[in-house]
Symmetry: C2
Subunit: 427 residues, 2 copies
């Protein structure tokens, strides 16, 4: 089954807000076997939206709209759906009751009453997080229009709780889907391992940051073939040195899971990533159970004081070096009392490395860069009960890309290092 997604809102075509809902919805629909054939972003223009709904319904079986369900005159999605479906708008008792509950004990502004209007025959979709009910309407020819607010957290709950359960029944024969996230191998290296697939099994390969994602799918009756294929690739890619996780697992979540299981604690020392490793980790609820601290030692003085890196070592080897990465990790582990420590030091482009790393005086060269140490050079250090290790990366791209990729690689390095260490068991 194919669908189209229509995102409405003048802020989206005026560049004030970036549209992010469509790709989230697309990812939720894929496992149901529903593919997006098009995404259209339109301003709050009732005529254009009405026209686009009609055209989309002529092309596909299902149209999903986001935005335009608020109480103000800008919000025209209700009217547009009614016109496109040739149905009059009328107050829907259930939608009215939900609004009354939302405003219980307060006076409902007159404008909000409009939100109870639904095209005839439509069903309101419950919005637990806001005033705007969604709209679900079935039309002749097995066509469907679903409409949810554009506010991301309202949209997400309503797609998951209201739209997907209703769509699941209509999507036709379900497909068996298995996804693998592979870290530490290039797209080409992963692709080269996908050889002959069992009959009917399709695969897709995509890259997001350092993640190479493989998706295998087949008609539901071929579920076993899909699972066997995924298991086989997991083994092969693991032997090639990849870290293979199920689904779209996250490096930070995986770090948390493993450390909690091992009852181990972690400390981080960052230089060129400037807090990005800590930010990735602390996005995971419960991280305070395992993460003691991260020290963003941007200046050399900070590396010396906070992590007890030797001044001599910094002078001799430079801040971006095997020796300093190892010393930062060792120092972070000792000074924090954590079981494991991860350290990152590198040159992200103009001015990422600490001033102390500037050793060449060449004019016009990015701060921190030397002929032997180009922009993109990053050293990672790990310290655990079993000892200390370090490895280097050579990253390409602008400052932001290098900082982000370095943080991702650092977590991967931590996971790989702790896999070995956890067998030793720190406690």
């Amino acid at each position: 089954m194919r669908c189209e997604i229509l995102c409405t809102g003048s802020e989206l075509v005026e560049g004030r807000t970036s549209e992010t809902n469509a790709s989230w919805i697309i990812q939720k629909l894929a496992p149901l076997g529903i593919q997006a054939a098009r995404v259209t972003i339109l301003p709050d223009d009732a005529r254009a939206i009405t026209q686009e709904i009609r055209e989309a319904l002529a092309r596909v079986r299902c149209v999903i709209l986001t935005g335009g369900l608020g109480p103000t005159r800008d919000d025209v999605t209700r009217q547009a759906i009614a016109r496109a479906a040739h149905r009059p708008l009328a107050e829907h008792p259930a939608a009215r009751a939900a609004l009354a509950r939302w405003f219980a004990g307060r006076v409902m502004p007159v404008a909000n009453r409009n939100q109870a209007l639904m095209p005839q025959g439509a069903e309101p979709l419950a919005n637990p997080a806001g005033t705007a009910p969604g709209i679900w309407i079935s039309l002749p020819g097995g066509k469907t229009v679903a409409s949810v607010p554009g506010v991301p957290h309202e949209m997400r709950r309503m797609i998951e709780e209201e739209v997907i359960p209703r769509l699941a029944g209509r999507a036709g024969p379900a497909r068996a889907v298995r996804q693998l996230s592979v870290f530490g191998l290039s797209e080409a290296a992963v692709d080269a391992q996908v050889e002959r697939l069992p009959k009917g099994v399709r695969y897709g390969i995509t890259v997001r940051g350092i993640r190479v994602q493989l998706t295998f799918s087949a008609p539901a009756r071929r579920r076993l073939a899909v699972e066997e294929t995924a298991r086989r690739l997991e083994r092969i890619l693991g032997r090639q040195g990849g870290l293979v996780l199920a689904g779209d697992a996250d490096l930070a979540v995986e770090t948390h899971r493993r450390l909690v299981r091992a009852r181990a604690t972690l400390a981080v020392a960052e230089s060129c990533t400037g807090g990005r490793v800590a930010a990735m980790l602390t996005a995971v609820p419960g991280m305070s159970k395992v993460l003691i601290e991260s020290v963003v030692t941007y200046a050399n003085l900070s590396k010396i004081r906070r992590l007890r890196v030797s001044r001599v070592l910094l002078r001799r080897s430079g801040a971006v070096s095997h020796e300093v990465a190892a010393a930062m990790a060792r120092g972070a582990r000792k000074t924090s009392g954590a079981d494991y420590a991860l350290a990152v030091t590198g040159i992200a482009g103009p001015a990422c490395a600490a001033p102390g790393a500037v050793r060449s005086g060449a004019a016009g060269r990015p701060e921190g860069e030397t002929p032997e140490k180009p922009v993109g050079l990053v050293w990672l250090g790990f310290a655990g009960p079993g000892g200390v290790e370090a490895t280097s990366l050579h990253l390409k791209g602008d400052r932001e890309t290098i900082q982000t990729r370095a943080a991702e690689w650092a977590l991967l390095f931590l996971l790989r290092s702790t896999i070995h260490e956890l067998r030793v068991n720190p406690r």
Copy 2:
């Protein structure tokens, strides 16, 4: 003049990559007086793209395409433009020469030769960063199609260097535009101050994070009226307590600018923001000149050891308190030797606050939350040569929103605090 933007790429409708080019292009076109009427995202489907180009040309004067200019069979934009314009494709000598220069000294893969194909009458747009030349074609009726690659850094340079100069001449009379970024006031509070505007001056108001952006514009001959309006609002909003910066200035860039000017250094201590303040700061090249370090003291033990926050204070006041925020700032300043220090401690939702902050035993309550200290409570601390101050925030939203907003407010608090301090002059 109105335009439409057509982004092509199966990865965009399959949810593997989020489309970000369109809003960037829209922002670049606005000062030329070119408005986007629609954004369409389509898979690599030559028929659908051809059809959409034709329809867009019937609606607006200019169509801008991104993506689909690569050398592989997936890349169908060239063919689609040729079909939509009823022009045959032929090798363009200048495009061929540019490819030859790109591959100088290497063998050009056969597939890349396709990239020199242009619809008859089209002009290749130079791509300094990749192999794919863009396409510029003028069609009857004053219509234009411009096509650039989808790779963001190639797209950006080509829009700025090739497309905008060509469009500038066709966009009709230019408009005078002035933007203000207001921090620390709500959208409603800012809006309330925009009263009668001079004749012909229009304004728009939008919100991104804690930034409220005002845009004033008028026909070019009314430039003075636009500038006077912006200056007047800047004064009024400043008096209301807002921090008003020109254009779309960035809090981290502004922090950097002011500290460099004052020759002052900064240290940061973060708890619930988990590295996000440091990450925002270190996104700015040259930050190593002023930022000594950021300590992400996630556990109470880390606050005690790294920042010398007293154990008694943590027990008595809790980690999320006026007293601890002030003590963290004071400790960060002292232990780092920086001129200024900023501290953040709060409850971002499940498990943001350090375990020591859990004082109620209520089951099912987010870690760190107590009846007096709800999720979203954040304390900010500042220490400088003139003393220490602290302030609290009450933020709404999910974990990610609270963490991000808290980091933005923290930078604003720092800027406001240093404005006073810098008059004292720390050195």
